[in-house]
Symmetry: D2
Subunit: 466 residues, 4 copies
């Protein structure tokens, strides 16, 4: 049993869907679960549609017409004329439902979370139904399975939490009775105990696939996307970036902040916990080996390689709290992180060196104003009495990080990393490396990031040839 | 106006007290405030005395006799026989008082914080009174000032907080009326608004001196101790460690974790805030230039030097929290630091690299069990549901840190630091450098600490000759 | 300037609306504000409509048809045939809007608070528009004023709080520019700052009227309803109950728990605070004097009368906490009332006699299970350790209360009250009388309530004749 | 087995102690436990002694001499001259110990709770030791038992909580091995697990006696005091007050607020829980029948009597919260009682009548200022916005209450009570009667209290003769 998941770009149009069918057909597994996203871009389009309607913007109707047209066109190019009518009528029927909902939103001027999930679910339902019709036209043995009937969640619409045990059990029992070779499942969608539609949040289709993989104890989980795998560095910055052929789960998680964001770490946890290997593959280059993620120690292309990849985050700001009043007083970091948590601000990097005089945290550049405001208020007292200095913020920063499980056993990596950066005149504003030693992060100026990634890539991935 | 503070070792016996008198006499200031600690070791002896009595241990009496004997001997060796009687009787009288208190503690089996401060205060009262008698015997123009009358605190016995404004004003007005050349003040002691004796906590005599320096806008504050100043590295580890002749306040604070612990940072804040230069001097080598601490940019002995000193803490433990459930969830660090603050555990170093998968904190090795217990309880839920992995602790670690204001403008320092460590096979377990860039800290194994400090010292302080 | 408010029964059908017009025409004020409720029963009907739709019950459509029919019929009977068409078309148009909203609720299966208020508002809009058309057909000088434009609230839909200052000012400025004799205002409806429709909660139309009365400093506020005023006792129990011709605001508030519930106390606060007399009148017996509520000391019909009225609540339960562990321990009542407040349970009567051994509270019989459950949980610890006994509850109880400002200065009232009850064999389960002495409440068995009210009424209101 | 407890007045001097011995000797039980208080007034004297010393008042010494003298005199008058010496020396020795402690307090100026308990314990130790010597001189078979060895408490000095289970077991096992007829136990004293002396708080000796009674399953507990039992009313107010010969535990608790305060309710709980009858007896009139407290229905002297007693509290103040903003808002009582609990104010009576407009609580007159201040602050917001009126307080009030288990089944009691009060022109400011119907409380003016109690006593206890 394999589980194959195809992302939005992989099913964006008729041509791509044909590739998907070819890939599925050529799979060597006896039975495959195929999880599909909505047609590329549809989730955002549906969100915009609902938002427009709720704002009283009549243009939502034209928008709806475009989306309908798009799906009808896919059906028309995908199916033989003789086989189109039932699919066309199914699409029309789903869009009529969608239109009714949109009109209701427009009238009530309300776009509640529950309705949001109902609307978004049309994306995956449409794509999966169309693909099922195409599979039928190819005489492939298949069965469409409604994810809402097998994935049970709480009622936190938009980002529902799955009730793991019953979901696993239902998936396993349901599939057991199916003899078809292909089980086709819309990703992202689930339902709560009242039967209302819910969705699984960011990376939801990957999560659906990982749930199936874990429930069925699949031989592997294949994530088919539009790149050929995880890369040694962000290819937008480094022309010589290479595909990483093999990586451990933990390394993959560390590399997830990558520009390319091939996977969103929380979504693969069910597969990881079940020890099921994940293969990242490219729908548009199915021959490429892709990236294999599992628990085996990473085997690098070149034996000498120790670092697995270079991660980077470009829009970062730093925030530092400093003051003689912090020494020996345990409460400062508590207040700092309490404040940031209350303001729902994610902390990307923390560093407090041994003098206890200052703590420095990196946050998303978009959050820095909010963070400063919240902290100014929390520390108002300490600042006015001079115990700590006014909160400092620095913008225009980026983070580059070396990632690799093997770094732990090779003492010189940090030396090499900072020597390379220093030698190239790149000033390091903050450094953090935790005891797991799988990640050394350096905060640098945004204008240095391209140079930094390139020289590090050269040092750790290219120099080795010489 | 200078303020001179002499620590416990500087007034440990008659011989040393003679040196103190010589130093005071040779001062080129018109008027000097001389703040003295108790005779070396007395504070601990008094604490032991009280604790013994409270435990019902009759030996407290013999202990008291020894302490009395020690002070009488100092008087006898210091003063001419003809001038001893009034001092001997003063010492006897103070010890009778102390004996009454100790007996009361013994009877009630209670050693309350208030009584603790009353007992400890005998140390500085005795030393300063004896020194005053000695100054009298030398015909030095001097006056003994009871610190309890001028330093006002809250009632947090053992570690009382000074009410700064009234204290400053009283000191200034009091001294203004004094014409004597030398004002002799017992350090460490103060009083609350009910007139009860309080003490100023760790480094209390330095703090007394800094308060006087700030209140009187002294030209400088001299801290006379038993070393010739702050050093480039802990001399117990590095034979080639040199005295730092000039250092900024902020650097001095960063270097305070030093083994030698020449100063405890919070105690110098009044002087720092008032911009009063501090001179660390050696009572036993008064000719040595010592270390000057002020706000001027550091001038290094050798122009090439960028790093000011190497700090080290040897008994460290690391604690790490790791887990896929932490990604994108703002609350983990809040809970972590809330828990540590509630358990009154000081966090020496924090580091969370960019993957958000793990946070790592260094704490004093003595606190690690308590910390783990508290965190296991706080995160019990997350651990049992697998959102985070069991808390990991690592013992037997140390921190070495480069300190220096100039590091900020010299890109290659971190590279050099980690290259040197790497080249010498020293594995770096965690790294933290904040955006102030005055401190780069590396956590290493305790068994590597000697080697690490030496190779870093060689690289940053000795190699430059070549 | 008078403000006249007509309740739902007063405008329930064409016949009644004719009476309303006659009353308005005969008013001796120069200008009147007429506030009208929805046609009798409409608010509940609209609520049912929305709830049905949200539950997916298609019958909502038939229901809607009935409501439309009802309004069309009122128009047809009220207006001359030649003048009907524009009103019929207005009603049709409003019902089309309502139908769209109901359909949207049906489709989305959501009946949000905001939509609830939008739907409810149709009731008053329809009634006031129809009445306006009728006034027009009578050639009465009038103007319809949209309450949504002058009453501003927060966004707490269903029970919105009015922003008093701006609302008062807008009402005052708006009406100032109107020359028409009659200003016709739909009650109950308001809007928030986004312009969304809100409603004012229980007794909302009375509140609208009181707001207008206060804003315009009206000479009086007339509440036209279907009874001839507040009565000395609930007429369902006491055949001899009489109308109270004059009562103070405070007495009126005390009597509000009455079965008849002529007014809901919070709604008259704006009028009371502005000192505007309120006249309760009967639309169906306009000649009856009604009840005048103002700040003047009550003048009773018979000089000898001291009690103003007898209030009664029939469905009551008692809950008592008792235990030796409560004596001298201040926390019990705190926990008790904290728990009840958290469970949103209203406390009708409290009594703790001087022994501190037991506290007894009366709550609505419908809340007693919830209350007991909550308290059993809060006091679980004290109950299991025997500090307090298990919470006792008693059902089947009622409260009768004497109300009257003059009782304060007449010592014998409580004696007379309890003698009468005792003499008639009515056991009193709990008694409460606060220091304002405007109310003496007795908890008795439900089966005694009829007898109790009758004997009390006889003793305080009838005996005087003899 | 009987347990006999003799209070401070019963052992105030030699003469009284002789009466005690006679009473003990004449007991018809095989074995008796005799619990004694300190000599009348000693507990307060010892407290004063310690307080004086802690304040640095040297007069504590003269005070100590007086107390020593008093005890020596008791010994001298009680014992034959030949038998005095060992007792005199014991008293001297205990006073030397006490003197040492007092001197320590004087020196340290600290009177900690632990030391307070140590000092207080001398009172019961001295009295019980002297009585033991007297029993010896009478050749009575007796044994002195140190309460500290058998009563185990937590460390809440001054008001320590007893660890019931181990204490019961130790008492039972210890006494089991004793063959003496009389076991003499100092009341009030216990110890914590470190062996430090603790005391049991208000009514502590009664509590000691009740613990022994329960642990030994005594046939009865006799409380010997200076009155002949609980009375139908406070004899200071009512000349005709009579002793109550029989009363239930619950009634006794209700009557405990009595001026005479014969027992403090919490102290008898162990006996009550074990169902052991308590007999209140008069040391100075041992023939008088006294008051029997048990679980049997009260048998009144005169069959017609229904009320058991009249309780009264004279120094009361009322506090009322009133406001239209309280109606239907569950939080007011929560805030009220939360505030009073936080301010540690005991609530004596609560009453909220059915209008929900006002809550009225009675507190000790001494607490009223504090209560008002706390409530003004808690309700500041509601008061300034007019939701509730400013908190009203009324001073100069008293409470009279009828107490009796039988009142429940006799409907006319409240009528009779309030008729009597009304007929006598006594205005009732507040009334509370809970559903247990064991207590009807009326708040009246202090100047009416004497009249009120007398007319009530006449009505319920004397009229019956006629």
């Amino acid at each position: 049993m394999y589980v194959l998941k195809f992302g939005g770009s992989s099913v964006a149009n008729a041509e791509n869907i044909r590739k998907v069918a070819a890939i599925v057909q050529s799979s060597d597994a006896k039975q495959v679960v195929v999880v599909v996203s909505a047609l590329g871009g549809m989730t955002n389009e549906l969100l915009t549609l609902g938002t427009k309607a709720a704002e009283g913007d009549e243009n939502y109707k034209g928008h709806l017409d475009d989306l309908r047209e798009r799906h009808l066109n896919v059906v028309k190019s995908l199916l033989p004329i003789t086989g189109q009518s039932s699919s066309l009528s199914l699409v029309m029927q789903l869009f009529n439902e969608l239109e009714d909902i949109a009109e209701s939103i427009f009238r009530l001027r309300e776009f509640s979370p529950a309705t949001k999930d109902r609307i978004l679910a049309f994306g995956e339902t449409l794509s999966s139904k169309i693909i099922a019709a195409y599979f039928a036209s190819l005489n492939l043995s298949h069965r469409w399975l409604d994810a809402k009937n097998v994935i049970l969640t709480n009622s936190k619409f938009s980002n529902a939490k799955v009730h793991l045990e019953p979901t696993m059990e239902i998936i396993s029992k349901t599939i057991q009775n199916f003899n078809e070779k292909i089980i086709l499942v819309p990703g992202f969608i689930a339902s709560n105990k009242k039967g209302q539609t819910t969705t699984l949040g960011r990376g939801g289709s990957d999560y659906t696939a990982a749930l199936f993989a874990a429930a069925l104890n699949a031989t592997r989980l294949e994530i088919w996307t539009d790149v050929s795998g995880m890369m040694t560095a962000d290819p937008r910055w480094v022309s010589g970036a290479r595909i990483i052929q093999h990586i451990t789960f933990k390394e993959a998680m560390e590399l997830s902040h990558f520009g390319a964001k091939v996977i969103y770490p929380p979504t693969i946890i069910p597969a990881m916990n079940a020890g099921i290997p994940i293969l990242i593959k490219n729908t548009f280059d199915p021959e490429a080996p892709g990236t294999l993620i599992d628990n085996e120690p990473t085997t690098h292309e070149l034996e000498q390689e120790i670092v697995t990849g270079i991660s980077s985050m470009t829009e970062i700001a730093l925030l530092s709290i400093e003051g003689s009043g912090m020494v020996g007083v345990p409460g400062t970091s508590k207040t700092l992180f309490e404040t940031l948590a209350a303001a729902q601000i994610n902390v990307i990097l923390i560093t407090q060196s041994s003098s206890e005089h200052s703590i420095c945290v990196a946050v998303d550049a978009a959050d820095i104003e909010l963070a400063k405001e919240a902290l100014d208020s929390s520390f108002n007292n300490e600042i006015t009495t001079g115990k700590i200095e006014p909160i400092k913020i620095e913008r225009g920063l980026s983070i580059v990080a070396l990632v690799g499980d093997k770094m732990k056993s090779h003492p010189g990596i940090s030396g090499k990393m900072f020597s390379v950066l220093g030698r190239n005149g790149i000033n390091v504003r903050a450094i953090a490396q935790g005891s797991s030693e799988k990640n050394i992060s350096a905060v640098i100026a945004f204008e240095d990031v391209k140079k930094a990634i390139n020289v590090l890539h050269e040092a750790f991935f290219e120099k080795v040839y010489k």
